[in-house]
Symmetry: D2
Subunit: 391 residues, 4 copies
Amino acid sequence: MTTTAPRIPREKEDDYTADVAERRREFLREQTGAGLEHVGRFSFDPGVLPGNVENYVGVAQVPIGVAGPLRINGEHAQGDFYVPLATTEGTLVASYNRGMRLLSECGGVKTTVVDDQMQRAPAFIFNDALQAREFGQWMDAHCDEIRAAAEATTRSGKLTYIGHYQVGPLRYLRVNYTTGDAAGQNMTGKATLAACEWIKENYPGGAEYVLSGAIDTDKKHSQINMLLTRGKRVVAEAVIKNDVLERLMGVDTKTLYDYRQIGMAGGFLAGSSYNGAHAANGLTGIFIATGQDAANISESHSGITYARLLENGDYYWSVTLTSLIVATYGGGTTLPTQRECLELLGCYGKGKVRKLAEICAATVLAGDTSLTSAILAGHWVTSHERLGRNR
Amino acid sequence: MTTTAPRIPREKEDDYTADVAERRREFLREQTGAGLEHVGRFSFDPGVLPGNVENYVGVAQVPIGVAGPLRINGEHAQGDFYVPLATTEGTLVASYNRGMRLLSECGGVKTTVVDDQMQRAPAFIFNDALQAREFGQWMDAHCDEIRAAAEATTRSGKLTYIGHYQVGPLRYLRVNYTTGDAAGQNMTGKATLAACEWIKENYPGGAEYVLSGAIDTDKKHSQINMLLTRGKRVVAEAVIKNDVLERLMGVDTKTLYDYRQIGMAGGFLAGSSYNGAHAANGLTGIFIATGQDAANISESHSGITYARLLENGDYYWSVTLTSLIVATYGGGTTLPTQRECLELLGCYGKGKVRKLAEICAATVLAGDTSLTSAILAGHWVTSHERLGRNR
Amino acid sequence: MTTTAPRIPREKEDDYTADVAERRREFLREQTGAGLEHVGRFSFDPGVLPGNVENYVGVAQVPIGVAGPLRINGEHAQGDFYVPLATTEGTLVASYNRGMRLLSECGGVKTTVVDDQMQRAPAFIFNDALQAREFGQWMDAHCDEIRAAAEATTRSGKLTYIGHYQVGPLRYLRVNYTTGDAAGQNMTGKATLAACEWIKENYPGGAEYVLSGAIDTDKKHSQINMLLTRGKRVVAEAVIKNDVLERLMGVDTKTLYDYRQIGMAGGFLAGSSYNGAHAANGLTGIFIATGQDAANISESHSGITYARLLENGDYYWSVTLTSLIVATYGGGTTLPTQRECLELLGCYGKGKVRKLAEICAATVLAGDTSLTSAILAGHWVTSHERLGRNR
Amino acid sequence: MTTTAPRIPREKEDDYTADVAERRREFLREQTGAGLEHVGRFSFDPGVLPGNVENYVGVAQVPIGVAGPLRINGEHAQGDFYVPLATTEGTLVASYNRGMRLLSECGGVKTTVVDDQMQRAPAFIFNDALQAREFGQWMDAHCDEIRAAAEATTRSGKLTYIGHYQVGPLRYLRVNYTTGDAAGQNMTGKATLAACEWIKENYPGGAEYVLSGAIDTDKKHSQINMLLTRGKRVVAEAVIKNDVLERLMGVDTKTLYDYRQIGMAGGFLAGSSYNGAHAANGLTGIFIATGQDAANISESHSGITYARLLENGDYYWSVTLTSLIVATYGGGTTLPTQRECLELLGCYGKGKVRKLAEICAATVLAGDTSLTSAILAGHWVTSHERLGRNR
């Protein structure tokens, strides 16, 4: 019953060469018949790849379209931006582009990072609830030592606070950090391991733990993320002028506001992770283009919108992304095309991560205004008919 | 206050040439200073891109690693698979690879698509609740005509059923379809528009609607997806032998089961969208490699695990992805590298979408066994230290 | 370690007499020193109690205040109602009373029962997902026989449909019924047991099940209840005139609508079961007064509000209770004070359950208008200061 | 259209006399024909009722059964308890009684209050997100003054911490308190009003707020309650001996544990507020008997169970109620029958509220063991047939 299919070739000495990649493609050709011609046509030296991938065979070439200019008046992002969106979904770039024009003509988007917390979440395991409660009290009393143990493992990570929540004899921790320009999952993992080991050694009588009690909640949407933030909590807001909206989108602000009431009730009914239109689309486009971990879309797409119909008929529209995970350091950010796209946004280099977060949020707002307007103006389906087919 | 930043160049006649792409990159260079050298080094004719992207400037080159072989004993996927994972996150491929070895040595993964539903979700708007209720009854009585109107717009889409849920004077519909080999969001949008228009014309006294009432829930996780399925509902299951687990992973099944109780409680506490380890990681890797809409990770990562510790010490482990959105037709599936990766899986061509869904689920199970074991064996952080750094 | 505390006295022959109740009180006096004087002063013959309680010792005397008149223009409830609210919370009756006056002066509340489903939810257990899927198909094909088996156990219960949802090798059923004037948990339990036994006998190869797979979700709030209804789904709606609101409540409709946006976002942020003000308060008052199972407040308090600010400045306000569990037959409905309170509402006797559901919803709307206005007019805390203290 | 139905009679001087109550009953008799004989037969002087009810007409007589003895080994509750359950649902007392016997024979229940937080949750409203963020920082820096302002309004309330969470330009506060022996909703409302007024006066430039931003979440279940506690977070835990379980319940621990896996997955699938059996039932019985606000069942029924199958075949079972709202002071606790039932539990008088919380949790655990066993042993339905009918 055991498989006897051959193993993928690897090279002990240096597994990151064009040669080894070709040898693996050749192996896969033999096994599956797939040609992998285009996959093999990458433009860089695989020697840059350690730390990004194993068993490297080549690249996915994901088309990038550019949307913009998008006027952003943020704390960190200021000016007009051209946003690279890596996607294979027709209409997407055009739609975001349209929203960016609307927002820019209305004076631009204000953006603000309002919180910043990355976490690992171990669980400490006791015999009974009383022990677990006492452990919580001890932990609160030894916060500084725990912090020191955690921060000794990292230059840029800072432990902000440890939330702890009890279930039966278990104490679930959520250890929160700021992580500089990195997304920080690895950094916080390492720091939290050190914190846990310190605790284990120093807690009177010892303490048993698992490094993940599942409340991080890494690579998953969750209500805890929405409430307590994961990564950046960032707000984009704009005042949309009724006349510009009518001219560009063919709907008025009153209609937007009426519709909003329906969408809010629908999102609540469905138990949805986001009560706006489609944050995931724009975010995914930026994430793939700029070397973010696109798996974090699972968390990053979540958010809450809030709007006001102003006395003068204009429309205040805000979107709050509660768990936006972005980086300008580490992960895929230094790879060739990815770095170029960060440069396109002025986000490569030290101290740029909040700028990137702001651009992400502004882009989401642009996309939401565009799609929502399209739904209401009745050309949602027709534009997809025109732009969204490749068969 | 209005932006005067220049617009992105477009070519009315044919906007999908290498020339136009270069002109746009040149424009962006001037505006931002970004070189976009590697972005411009794609291996195919941009003439294939209409329907996939607008304002094309080049490609993101996302590294692909291959994991496998993975033995799958599914209905549609049968044999040993080498799975392409496009990622920039070190350790990921190695970790999935390890899980695949475990599962394959234990006899492989059983996979089953248990439901298949793609939807659009308009809302019909009435003056009061009574009207909305009566509308619901009328709709149930005219199901066949509505289906006919919807299906007239598509060759492959079949309307399966219309769920409708009332809030105040609003009747939220969730119109469900099977969509052949396509993911089907566009197809179902078009069909549902036709259905709504038919209803509007034929409902006595007329009916007002918006095409989205937000309960699809497109590009968002939701409880309704988890319950009622979005895309494919697919199960991967395996019986893990205790001795193989101990040999390869350094943990035993009893420890897995004990830990599982903690993770389940943690996921419930956090209000999580998935109570396994990290479905999003493997799915994103496959999605980018094979031309799926990676924004659908927001929905697709959601699921429910269920396990049993067997009398003989072996471990039955299942993962149910409740809203896996995949396609082997449309979207990015025909693009050069994407098609090659589908071919690598034997998933290019007609009638392959459930095979792809099964491979996705099997891959998720492999990744979950690997990460969970790593957490318990204590080498989670250390392997990331070794493999996961690129700074 | 085992307790040697004495057992509570019981009387084998007839355990429902004033004598036995007194003997138990005497026993408790001896054990605990509690006098139980007032508990023992009930006004009826305990012979009516079999089926309602065991180990009877006396009664809780819960104060009833009456609120009203409340004008209801429903399908089943029509006219002016005086609503009995059993409560110990000061301000509650006064606040509901105030809301009822507002709604009545604005022309009354429209009420509509839009769905009606009570359920039991067994889970069928298989070896693998494929078996579970096939079981689902078989079940759909044998709906009529299953219905017949279920309905053979009950005069008033009708099986409406069986929803089934798969997780791994498990098929979770949610068997839905209408249950006449009863709440129906027992009736549906018995009917579903019969259905399951029929299935077990007739499914080729047999089928294993547990009678509850936890998705009923009996005595718990859940998203599935909100979506698919548990008990009655009932809407109360009213158009509130701005001038009446200002005169009686000291707020205007514009303020209500602005505030509503904040409350909706807050409810979404918190992961709340209800996005109105306090459905639970009025419902609990009615439930205790009229012999409903007050434990069902856990489910019944859940709902969704939806509002519109009309062009003329009036305010359309609706509340949809998605899982209101009420009865006018069975449970506590025939007990002396409980029956009297049902009579007060004209809800005692056959065919009155939807009338009661409508009154419940109308009462909730009254309470929500009152509390929301109080919060906005700034006298929320002060009225509690005046009315809500008993120390 | 306006109602002309007569108003309920009130007595300006003293509205809390037997006379006025009779006059109101007489009025209701005339209006509705309901006799209200038994409602009028209360055993106490209505002069005790100010602060508990308005428009008093009489009482609901809710039958009380007693379950026990229940051996509790808590911090505050120690000994054997006889628990009064006010209910009209047959089987309930018998079922809890059975579970109490099981637990007591196994050595009793350990109980621990692990957190204690009551809250009001205003929202502060700004023009943009930046202002809201700065407000949050200011608030953190002025915690002591805010606390002082809040605590000046109350003798027993202590402000523990202020959580704040941003959405767009809104800063949602959740102001947390311990509230002595009271449930504390009024106390915290008053204190939070004072805190908000202090903030409004002292925040540079002033600050606008509403006293409720809906994240308390008063009288509603919510994920925020489950995570961050509302009222008491209390754990009940017991080790159930396999042989006692088999003898008394007819099931073994292995079956319990297997079934638990199904129930956990079901609860997750359904989006449930509790993953145990039926906390609401026992809690409601105690709440009504002891003068708690039974509307709080909406929040109090929520919780998380966690279990372990021990090496020796015994079964560790814990239930964590995350938002149990109880009081031994204020509300209905001083009313005649209610006080007697508190006395029965030894919970009347100063400093008893945690004892009551522990008894509640222990009772819930007893009920869950009993119902779960009944489901598995197959006599769930039949016992309801025997005990649960009153028609």
